[in-house]
Every structure is written in C-alpha cells, then in structure tokens.
C-alpha cells in the first residue's frame, strides 16, 4: 500500500482518444475494502478512468499505483496477470461468453489463473448460489434473463476473491428492481470478502450503495471526501 494507506492511487491522469480528451488530469485514491462510486455525466470520462485504474488502458500522462507498484512500469503481460489475480470486472452488457454455460462463465477467471476445471467450477458454483442463480448454472447466457446474467457476471467478478472489483455501469441494462438487487449482492459480497469496489455509474441511486463518491466532470475527477470535511 502507498504511504497514505490507499490501495490504488492515481495522479494527473490524462488520456485522449484521437481529438477527444477523455481524461484531463484526474486524481483519485481508493482504500482497501471501500466502495467508491465514480459519477458524472455521460462522456465525462468515467469509464476511461476505470480502464486506467484497472490497467486495461495506459494513460497518456499521469501515474496509477496499485499496492505500491506503478502500473505504467509494468508490461502488458504483467498487467494482464495482475488483472487476472487481483481484479474482478463487471460490465454493463455483452460480457458472458455465449457458448459457455453460466457455471463455466463464472469459473472462467479461475481457469485463467490455472485452476483445474473441477475445482474452478466447484468454487464458481458456491458463488452462483450466493448470488441466487445456482439453478441456471447449466443454462447458456442466451437462455437466462438479464438480471440472472448480470448476477452470473458478478459471481464471475468475485470468484477469484479479488482485492478490487471494477464495475462499469453494472446495472445499466437492468430494471431498477433487478438493478438494486444486483447492487445489493455485489456490495454485500464485496464487503464480505473485503474487496474494494470501483463503481462507475451515472445513476445516483446506484451510487448510493457506495461509501463515497468521486465525480468526474470534463475529464477531471474530484474526490468528494474533502467536501464532507468542509460540510
């Protein structure tokens, strides 16, 4: 961990896609086990911030430290390995492999880190049970509802017991009832496993499941923690 006790800290992140500036000097730190909502209007650079924090995308400028290591200094393979080992991901849609069963999808991260198939699927099944979707384990993603699919995705994100779960609009494709249930299961499970959650959302009600929020506007991230102290 960095001296200030944060698990992930980012400073001065800049990222442009062609002429579009997605991030323009974002600072942020995330502590172990906390749920942080990244909010902001669409196009504000929320997702890009998440991608930079998770080491999926290299920022043009600025640094990201995870557990004291500079992501920029790591090779692509090392960052991939880090993502496999320490991070979990939930996205809005299109994330389950359609030809694998729900159980196989949930077991995928463990398989990627070299677990035996049987062992991986046994662990994945526990998570599917935890997320109330064990009954569809032999179904393919195309055969289950959006809410069930998203729960499978959450199970998959948590199955490797990551230290950080990155969730990018995890409820974006769900109705509010399903969305809230998924959020509840996600944050409960994360708290249980002491995983930090970086939750990108534009919905305040989803953000309300967080411990604190970070607002991204015009590519600049503001940590709202300071605001509380002022308030």
């Amino acid at each position: 961990m960095t001296p200030d006790g944060s698990l992930i800290s980012a400073a001065g992140l800049r990222k442009a896609y062609g002429p579009t500036t997605a991030l323009d000097g974002a600072d942020l730190s995330i502590h172990a086990g906390e749920v942080v909502a990244v909010m902001g209007p669409s196009g504000s650079g929320k997702s890009t911030l998440l991608h930079c924090l998770a080491g999926i995308v290299r920022p043009d400028a600025g640094t990201v430290h995870y557990d004291g290591r500079d992501l920029a200094a790591m090779s692509d393979a090392e960052r991939s390995a880090l993502r496999r080992r320490d991070f979990g991901f939930v996205f809005q849609f299109g994330q389950l492999v359609p030809e694998l069963t729900c159980l196989e999808n949930a077991a995928l991260p463990l398989r990627l880190t070299g677990h035996k198939r049987k062992d991986a699927e046994a662990r994945a099944l526990r998570w599917l049970e935890r997320l109330e979707v064990a009954d569809v384990r032999h179904h393919r993603p195309g055969q289950v509802s959006g809410g069930q699919g998203q729960r499978v995705a959450v199970a998959r994100a948590l199955v490797g017991e990551p230290r950080v779960v990155f969730a990018d609009e995890p409820t974006g494709a769900l109705d509010s009832l399903n969305g809230e249930r998924v959020m509840q299961l996600l944050t409960d499970s994360a708290r249980e496993t002491r995983a930090a959650v970086v939750l990108v959302t534009h919905e305040a009600r989803v953000a309300a499941y967080s411990d604190r929020e970070v607002v991204v506007r015009d590519g600049i991230a503001r940590d709202m923690a300071g605001m509380y102290d002022a308030a």
């Binding site: 991939s80 390995a81 993502r83 496999r84 996205f91 849609f93 359609p98 030809e99 198939r117």
Partner: protein, 799 residues
C-alpha cells in the same frame, strides 16, 4: 416454415410482385451493404464461379469429343493398313480427281508426329481439310505446332528426317484435331497402290461408332460424380459465406417491420445476387480457362479453345440451377433459425441432426455396389460384364450419402469434446454451440480433397497401362521397325544403312512371315528370311550357304517346334484378304529335309527368334503374300537422339516405315501435369474454403469485439484467445482431412478395384492434404492479425 398469418407489410402487392420487390431489396443489400456485404458477395461469387467454370468445362466434354471426332473422320480416308488395303486400291480407278494416300506416322522424342504422303493422279485431286492446295512432290504442309518444332533447336533431328521436303504452308485448325497436334501432309511421286497405299478420290471416312467399354464408361461416371460432388457442395457452401452477418442485417430489417417471409425473400435475393455474380464470374473464368487449353497437352492430346463449348441445354441448366440452388439452400438454412426483430435465435442447439435419411442414401449405394464387388473380386469376374449403371448409381449415392452424413458426424465428434485446457474448451464449446460452419467446412474439405485423392489415384493406377516410368530400362533403347518385304539385296542394304546410323549399336534385319501347317489349325510358326550373316546372328550356325534352312530351337526349350515343323513339314502362307470375289492367294513351301536344328541367340531386343530360319535362295520372298521386313536394333542406352537417328534413317528409306520404341514411351510429364492440376484445383478450393472460414471467424470476432475486450480486461492472455480461434479452425480442418484421406483412399481403392487395377502409391495424398491444410492454416493465421487489434482494451469504449 410457413405460418399462415399475413402481416400488413405484404398486404399491398401480392405474389410475384412481392417476391420481385423483396428479391430486389436483397440484391441491393448484397451490392450496397458496405465492405462486409461486398466481401461476402465476392466470396460467394468466387466460390460459385469456380464451381460454374468447372461445370461448364464438364458440360463441354461431349461437344469437344464430337468435334474432334468429326475433324478426325473428315481428314481420314478409309483405315489404311499394310495388310487390309488392297480391296479399295484395286477398286478405285485412276482419274483426274483421284490421288494416292499413304499414312506415314512417326514419333519424335516420344511424341507422335502423324501424317500422310499424297500423290495426285490428276489436277483436280482435292486437298486435305485445312490445306489450301495439294502438296506437290517434295512439298510439305505442316501443323503450326510441327512448324514450331521444326524451327526450334529441339527439332534438329526432325528437320533432318523431313529434309527431303520443303514446307509450303501450314494446316488450318479445321484439318487438325488439336492445336498442339504434330501433323503433316507431304507430296510424293513414288507412291504406288499396295503396301498401305490406297487410291481414293476424297477425304472423309466415317468410322463405325466404337461404343465405350464398360470400364471406360464407369471411369467417366465416377470421375464425373467425384468431380461434380465437390462442386455442388462447394456452391452450397459458398452461398452461405458470411451468413451470421446477413442474419443480423435481416434482424434489423425485422425491427423496422419486415415479417418472417419478407426476410426470407430478402435473404434469397442476396444469395441470388451472389450466385448471379458467380455465374458471370464462372462464365468469365470458363472463357479464360478455355484459352489456356491451347497450352495444355495431356497424353499427346490438346484441345482447341473453340472446341470447348458447353452443350447448350446443359449450359442453360447450369444457368438456371445454380441460382435456384442458391435460393433453395438459403431458404433451407433459414429454416433452422428464427430471425426475430431483436436478434437471431438459432434452433440448432435444441434440434439434433436426424440420422436416418443420412444413413439411408449411402446404405442404398452400398447395397448397389456390394454384389458387384463380390463379382469383381471373384476370379470369374473377367467374363462377367460390369453393370455400369448400377455402379454409377451406387457410387453417386454413396458419395452423396457421405456428404449428407458428414454434418452429423461432425456434430457427434464435437459433442464428445469435454475436458482440456481453456482455449480448447472455448473452441469446443463454440463448435458445440453451432456446428454448422464447421460441418460445412468439413464437408467442403472432405469432398474436395477426397475427390482429388481418388481421381489422382485413379489416374496413377490407369497410367501404368500406358507408360513405363523408368527411362533407364534397357528395353527402352531397343527399336523395332517394320517395312514391306525386301529382296535379299534390299534387306541387307537397308540393314547396313541402319547399322551405319549414329548411335545404333546392333541391328538385325530380315523378312518375316508366319506360316500355317495345313490340316493343323493350332500349328503356327514363323519364317525368318535373311542372308547367312544375318542368320548367324540369330542362331548358333557353324556353316551356312545360301539355300540352307534351319529350324530354330531356343536354348533348353521347345521341342514341340522341332516335332511339328521338323524337316519335311509342308507349310502354307495365305493372303490375309483378297479383293471381292477373288480367291485368297497362297504360297506353299516345304521345310527341306536338309534343314538342321540350331540353337537360337537373342536378337538386339533380347528376344529369341522362333520358327524357321531360311536363306534367300531357299524360299521365294516375292511370292510370299503379306510378308514384312523387320529390323530390330539396340541403340546407345540413354541416348534419346539415337532413337531419332534410327527413325531418320527409316524415314529416309521410306517415310511410311513404322518404327516402334520397345517398352512403350515415357509419358511421366503428362501424369505430372494431371497431378499438378489436381493439386492446384484442390488447393484453390481449400484456400477458398479457408477464406470462407476466416471470414466467418472474422465476422464472429467483430460481432464479439466487446466480449473480447471484456475477456482481455479480466486478464485473459491473448494467446489463450488466439489458440481458441485456431482450435476452432484446426478441429474442422483436421477432422475434414482425416475423413478426406480415409474417404479418398477408400474411394480410389474401390474404383481401381472395380477396374481391376492395383493401387500404385498409397501416399500420393500427402501433397494434396499437406498443402491444403497448410494453406487453410496460413489463411487462418492471417485472419488472426485483425483479431489481435480487436483484443485491445479500446473495445470496451464502444457503447
């Protein structure tokens, strides 16, 4: 498939108009649907085009054969042979319009150079087809190919052979069977009727139709089935290229209000468009390939491009059947998926392929073939005529059945995949999810490669009949020539000329005639007439004077000859044929009592003479009907020019003298051409199948760009994804190759077995299978390059 509801969108125009409108929309999609649609249409067009071109070539075979036959018949005059020509020659009286004709064929470097000597009796003797004027003595007209050969460096010895003639023109295509045919007409003034020379007043001799032998007929049927099957499969595969993307587009169409019927019609329109492009591409390719025919000579046959004209009704059938097939296949494909406004629902997962009808077809085929096989493998087979229709139908059904069985086999195989590392699991699951593309790829590969292997084996097996492969076979540098009977002086003079020829190491020349023993039909012997020197070369003879006769006996052999044709035996030699109404002339002769039994020596060709050896004074050569002078020579081994020198000497004695190279001729390069052609064809087909697979994979990857990015996001190695894509291709390719090699070898063996030929080389499939697999893998790996780009985190941005 046809729910009864009619939705509002079809309420306007009805029937044909609706079809036309929707087909037109499909065609527009195919053409204006952006790069992907173009690629898809182009692939379909190329695939269909290849098939169509091959079909057109196959459809041209009957016309080509008949044209060639007609030109061949038009330039022929009766079938003149040394022995059977007197009848005609006697009948035709000389007149201003008659001429003498004598076939004068020769070979040059194992290529036949055919021709005739002509001698006009009067000014109005007609010129041969394709020739402007009757060549005068000392003049020669040649085919363009022969002209080229005579003018080339390679033609030096042939120039010497024809040095007595001046080339005054070339023969037009109407007088030639093929463009590369080596043919000539030479004018002469030394011809006289008899000994192969006939007097006629025109050209054109309709040979009675020779029916195809059952074996040949069978060969034709099997080759057609084997060649056409891949084409059919390939066309049906080609019209499905890029089907997934098409389905997405159709789903979008449903979203804006098209009903299920309309989407089917639009899809049919797209397929129709591809197949129409394919038809024109095929026609273009056909015309192109047709021109190439000039440069291809197989087994000394070449074909004029203008002869390659498809039968009109077959061409019409192709033009009609290909688009119809394309539409039917498309509709058939769509039967198994439901295109809903929000996406495509595949029913393939829930519905297993049904087995019974897939098994029924090959079962019927086997049922037809099995009794024949039993017959063919029995010893009595040679006397039982093969039931060709039964074999043809059996083979066709068996092949069709195998093709129908393949998807089922693929499905079963793929569903067996369970354990394995992650990339393998991903690939296996993908194949299980939708085995359609894999099954089609396997079908395509299997029929293309199996067909190529079987045809290659067939040609390899059959070619052993015609050729010997070993150019260093000593027998290969032995030559035999045959000519009219010569007097003792003539014979020894000719022999001396051969002996003096460069490269000729040994030569024996004698007059030869077979003789019967009156009253004993089974007793036939041979009389060799030569001077003492010649006879002493043929047998161990201590003392010899003109007038002596010897009875030859092989060392340690045949006492029978001695007994039956012992000294004092009467022999008779009858004319082979006599002019109508006349009796056959005969010559009777008795083996003199003074004849001695001698032991023979091998002649230059290694053969021992058989029968009676006589010196010229002992028998009157001029009275023996149908006798021939035979020369047997050994030329320098490995010296092909020596053979040509020998032929030149023969031609200078008389252009019509026949010369044979013993042990056949070397025609390996022809087989190599066929092999190369098959290889190119098979590999091109496989490349196209590979391209189709690559396009399908690329489409699938693009469709899953987001999923790929997600997988990369949570740390999936690119190599894992790359391998899963590779496995996805490797599995069908390997499966297809195994089935193809097995099927091809089995088919080839069966065909050769039915023709009672042996398999020459069990490993001949290696180049086709190896190159094909390599090409497909290369294309797949190339297809992975864009995937590498897709697998960056950027893919997550597109929302």
């Amino acid at each position: 498939m046809t729910p009864p509801e009619r939705t509002r969108i079809t309420a306007g125009p009805t029937g044909v108009a609706v079809w036309a409108r929707d087909l037109a929309m499909g065609i527009r999609f195919a053409v204006t649907g952006g790069r992907e649609a173009w690629l898809r249409t182009a692939l379909t067009a190329v695939g269909v085009g290849l098939g169509v071109a091959l079909l057109m070539i196959a459809a041209s075979v009957p016309h080509m054969m008949s044209e060639r036959h007609q030109r061949g018949a038009a330039r022929a005059v009766d079938s003149p042979s040394v022995f059977f020509d007197k009848r005609l020659a006697h009948e035709q009286k000389p007149g201003s319009g008659t001429f003498l004709y004598k076939t004068a064929n020769t070979d040059y470097h194992d290529k036949p150079v055919n021709g005739a000597l002509l001698q006009a009796d009067g000014p109005s003797a007609p010129a041969p087809p394709g020739v402007g004027a009757m060549p005068r003595p000392g003049e020669m007209v040649v085919s363009p190919a022969l002209d080229d050969l005579l003018h080339s460096d390679n033609g030096k010895l042939l120039r010497e052979r024809f040095e007595g003639y001046r080339t005054v023109g070339t023969i037009a295509p109407s007088g030639l069977i093929g463009p590369n045919e080596l043919f000539y007409y030479a004018g002469s003034d030394k011809l006289a009727p008899g000994h192969g020379t006939i007097r006629v007043d025109g050209y054109g001799y309709e040979e009675p139709d020779v029916p195809l032998t059952p074996e040949l007929f069978l060969l034709v049927i099997i080759v057609c089935v084997v060649l056409l099957m891949p084409i059919a499969v390939f066309i049906t595969t080609a019209v499905r290229f890029g089907g997934d993307q098409r389905d997405q587009r159709l789903a979008a169409l449903r979203l804006v209000g098209a009903d299920a019927h309309m989407t089917r019609r639009v899809a049919a329109g797209e397929a129709l468009c591809g197949s129409l492009f394919g038809l024109s591409a095929g026609a273009g390719l056909f015309l192109l390939l047709r021109e190439f025919a000039t440069y291809v000579t197989i087994r000394d046959n070449s074909v004029f491009p203008s002869d390659i004209v498809p039968e009109p009704w077959i061409a019409a059938l192709i033009a009609l059947a290909v688009p119809v097939c394309a539409v039917v296949v498309t509709l058939f494909t769509l039967r198994r998926i439901a295109i809903e406004p929000l996406g495509v629902v595949r029913n393939a997962v829930t519905r297993r392929r049904r087995l019974w009808w897939r098994l029924l077809i090959p079962a019927v085929g086997i049922a037809l073939l099995l009794p024949l096989f039993r017959k063919a493998s029995g010893y009595a087979a040679h006397s039982v005529p093969l039931d060709t229709y039964q074999i043809g139908a059996g083979t066709a059904l068996l092949l069709v059945g195998l093709v129908a069985l393949l998807p089922w086999v693929v499905e079963i195989c793929v569903s067996r995949f369970r354990r394995g590392p992650l990339p393998w699991q991903l690939a296996a699951r993908r194949l299980q999810f939708d085995s359609g593309p894999a099954a089609r790829a396997v079908s395509g590969i299997t029929v293309a490669v199996a067909g190529a292997i079987a045809v290659q084996m067939l040609f390899a097996g059959v070619q052993s009949d015609y050729t010997t492969s070993d150019g260093h076979d000593p027998g290969h540098f032995q030559v035999r020539a045959s000519y009219r009977p010569g007097t003792a002086e003539e014979t020894s003079a000719w022999t001396e000329r051969f002996r003096a020829t460069k490269g000729v190491e040994a030569v024996t020349g004698y007059v030869e005639r077979y003789a019967d023993k009156p009253g004993d039909d089974a007793a036939v012997t041979s009389i060799h007439i030569g001077d003492c020197a010649t006879l002493q070369r043929m047998a161990h003879i201590d003392s010899c004077r003109d007038g002596d006769v010897f009875v030859a006996q092989e060392p340690g052999g045949d006492v029978d000859t001695e007994h039956r044709f012992a000294p004092g035996t009467r022999l008779t030699m009858k004319e082979y044929s006599a002019p109508a109404g006349q009796k056959k002339r005969g010559y009777d002769w008795m083996v003199p009592a003074s004849a001695r039994v001698v032991t023979t020596r091998p002649d230059p060709s290694g053969d021992h003479p058989f029968g009676i050896l006589a010196t010229p004074s002992a028998i009157d050569v001029t009275k023996i009907p149908d006798a021939t002078t035979t020369f047997v020579a050994q030329v320098t081994k490995g010296d092909l020019d020596a053979i040509e020198q020998f032929r030149n000497t023969a031609a200078h004695i008389d252009p019509s003298m026949r010369v044979w190279r013993l042990g056949g001729v070397v025609k390996d390069n022809n087989y190599a051409t066929i092999e190369k052609g098959l290889l190119i064809g098979a590999v091109a087909t496989l490349a196209l199948i590979g391209a189709g697979m690559a396009v399908t994979t690329a489409e699938q990857l693009r469709e899953r760009k987001r999923l790929l990015s997600v997988l990369v996001a949570f740390g999936t190695r690119r190599s894992t994804l790359g391998w899963s894509v590779l496995w996805q291709t490797i599995v069908p390719v390997v499966l297809g190759m195994i089935l193809a090699v097995g099927g091809g070898l089995g088919l080839g063996w069966a065909m050769l077995h039915l023709l009672r030929k042996g398999v020459r080389d069990w490993w001949s499939f290696v180049p086709v299978a190896g190159t094909g697999a390599a090409v497909i893998m290369a294309i797949t790996v190339l297809g992975l390059v864009p995937m590498w780009r897709l697998m960056r985190g950027d893919g997550l941005r597109s929302e």
